[in-house]
Symmetry: C2
Subunit: 215 residues, 2 copies
Amino acid sequence: MSPTTIKVSIFDDHLPLREALSLLLNGTPGYQVGGVYGDPVNLSEKIEANIPDVVLMDISMPEKSGIEAVKELKGLFPHIQVLMLTVFEDEERIFQALCAGASGYMLKNTPPAQLLQAVREVYEGGSPMSPSIARKVLGLLQKFGGKPHSDPYNLTPRETEVLSQLTRGLSTKMIAAELEISYETVRSHLKTIYDKLHVASMTEAVAKALKERLI
Amino acid sequence: MSPTTIKVSIFDDHLPLREALSLLLNGTPGYQVGGVYGDPVNLSEKIEANIPDVVLMDISMPEKSGIEAVKELKGLFPHIQVLMLTVFEDEERIFQALCAGASGYMLKNTPPAQLLQAVREVYEGGSPMSPSIARKVLGLLQKFGGKPHSDPYNLTPRETEVLSQLTRGLSTKMIAAELEISYETVRSHLKTIYDKLHVASMTEAVAKALKERLI
DNA sequence: TTGCGCCTCCCCAGAAAAGGGGATTGAGGA
DNA sequence: TCCTCAATCCCCTTTTCTGGGGAGGCGCAA
């Protein structure tokens, strides 16, 4: 296949880097530099003046952070793919940047060839990330999806089960039917659950259980 | 640098693929095949008999799913890196596999060279993913960290507010006090909330709201 | 003007949940 | 053996929710 030419705009406050990237992209078949900017002020005008396929975005820039810029950009031009290109590799910023709508995250020490590859990948719908970034993203994912908090309230197996039915939205009566025990037994379990969780109603128990991932 | 030789074990129920992978790995300098297995039964024994650096793990296998296997494996040998190698690309399985402890996720249609590269990357602490997988992982991350689901139920501002107090575990009376409106007004809002969410109780409303990130 | 949606408040009857008891099994440990 | 604890079930009273109504005010748009 003959690859389409990808038009890339650059936002970075570091002039030498901007120039190096421009040279690299313009010097490589299949890539073409659109706009090159030192900050994301008046972002919409800059983008509209020269609409790119892919934006390379730094995080630390004067006036406005790259993360804010991504949010704005994706709000206005959802089809433009954003590839973060920064030195930061702390979970917090990675998370924010990706949630803001970036589709890739590369570190600035990435070799040119891989950077070009990453630009193409993000253009083609992939999500290139530097290896260490990818590992951190997995870490974040595991943190969110991670296992239920291991019982900081000493719930018995049965109580846990009742609580879990509660979080499905079932009423006392329905839980009784579901677990094939009597209504009064469910009530009994509920009482001790309330004690242990320090709550006083189904609503509160469900809220606490879901917020603290007890189930 | 001269790359270390990486010892790779393979779990996949598809014989031709096992053989192809073995040939590929053993035929490439820097890679060496450890154990090759058709299923993860007696996993600990298999691993102990021949401890690998990296495990290639299929998901659909007889007897036991690859996801279960990863969980067990990472529990027993946390230092062994697992690279999923499967045909599945649904969010659910990707999520489960990665949460189970896999450090990479490649599709089976990946070209050999990239597969080798992925094995090395996972061995070196990266988290290689096929482009489409990476994009889905980002989607998952955004879903978790992302903003509240933008009102698929057409809740009015006031209703949203009531719902949000509900998810804090407050009772009708408490919400009335909190919002400084009458008890009956809160009830009124609750009724329309129930209608819109298709639920019939506070418990259910809280469960739905928290699970679908409506607040 | 006439609707319409949103927010506000009210009443009533029946259902469900909460709070307070108490009681019986069976398993497992002291 | 005795004791504890999880799990099961029961009763009674009070409080809270639910479901069915209705109704007035306000802002906005047709």
